[in-house]
Subunit: 221 residues, 2 copies
């Protein structure tokens, strides 16, 4: 039944955060769907790969990806494994943007040094090529990898492991020097994350993953 409404139909809205909580929720749903649809169309029309990740205010995660969010994010993040550790802490440090630079401690200076060495020696283009090659081999069926590729795989793991060790040592030292915990029980305020998400849209799209790791370890890198 149609009310005698003066204005029925879409109305222009200000481009700022929607105030009415209910409206916001509805708009979020609708526009999110619209966004994913657009992305899907872009994929089919232009034959490209797209990944979208949306964190709702409620903390839910909605993702769209063609062919997979994972693979695209992976391609995007093809860089040092150790960067992942850094990024894992990104948000933490982000909240300390105003930190006082002069407090730079010796341990972090070491990291600086590493970076410098890297800048000096790094052969950018070679690394690009190299990285491309690596991405290639590990996408291949493992059964078809030659011993050489397996060796590279192994080296990648070694690298990862080692970097974890290095980063951990440095941070461990820093942590200790800040004497914040003698024997903190790792009760995981920040147990690492897990992702929960509600996927939507009926397109070959993002997948859902949920992880959570128990932890009951000591920091003994």
């Amino acid at each position: 039944m149609v009310k005698n409404n003066p204005v029925q139909g879409r109305r222009k809205i200000e481009m700022k955060k929607i105030a009415k909580k209910n409206n916001l929720q509805v708009t979020f749903s609708k526009r999110r769907a619209g966004l994913f649809k657009k992305a899907s169309e872009l994929c089919t029309l232009c034959g490209v790969d797209v990944a979208i990740i949306v964190f709702s205010p409620a903390g839910k995660v909605f993702s769209f990806g063609h062919p997979h969010v994972e693979s695209i994010v992976d391609r995007f993040l093809t860089r040092s494994p150790s960067v992942r550790i850094f990024d894992a802490c990104y948000n933490i440090v982000e909240t300390h943007r105003d930190a006082n630079i002069r407090e730079l401690n010796a341990h972090l200076a070491q990291l600086d040094e590493m970076l410098e060495v890297e800048k000096r020696n790094g052969e950018a283009l070679d690394e690009v090529r190299e990285a491309g090659r690596r991405q290639w081999w590990w996408q291949a069926p493992i059964g078809e990898l030659g011993s050489n590729e397996l060796q590279q795989l192994r080296n990648a793991l070694l690298e990862l492991k080692m970097n974890v060790g290095k980063q951990a040592e440095l941070l461990q030292a820093a942590v200790e020097s800040s004497n914040c915990w003698p024997f903190l029980a790792p009760n995981g305020v920040g147990t690492s994350g897990f992702g929960c998400e509600g996927n939507e849209i009926n397109v070959p799209s993002g997948t859902t993953q949920m992880y959570k790791f128990d932890q009951d370890l000591y920091l003994d890198f």
Copy 2:
């Protein structure tokens, strides 16, 4: 000047890959812009965080992210910090499923294309510099982090370590079962990755990182 065109204005198009290469390029540009705009609006209207990654047919990477692609991708991937390795396994298995060499070659071709583009347009040094800039957060004084943050940091590291161990075990097993090496000397072919991308839209978005580490270890996970 207006021609006497029978149909001037938008026309409906089939939802399949655009045939005419030129049209495809234009449509890609326009729709990509539209997609990013929609995303941006979603951010402001609903106060949510969104990241979009698009791989163009040419291999270029376009990304949108609020506040940063990195931070969002990070949150998304908070399952395992060693995603690269994890995803490596994932892709290996995935590809193994239909071991289609043609597809793999396509991937390779795509990568080659990326590299070409990168070689032509990429400014390695600038990228390195850019990467350095992004380093700011871990150069920040760790001493100013609260104990809570430090604990979270610690937990993140614990998680990383543990996952490295897990992934390594899995791969180690796979590697061994393929009996390719008795005592391979780890000569470190596999330096780490890189990231290249062509960012667009004037929003705080993605960055580039480059790393490389010496290694001289044994595989003793």
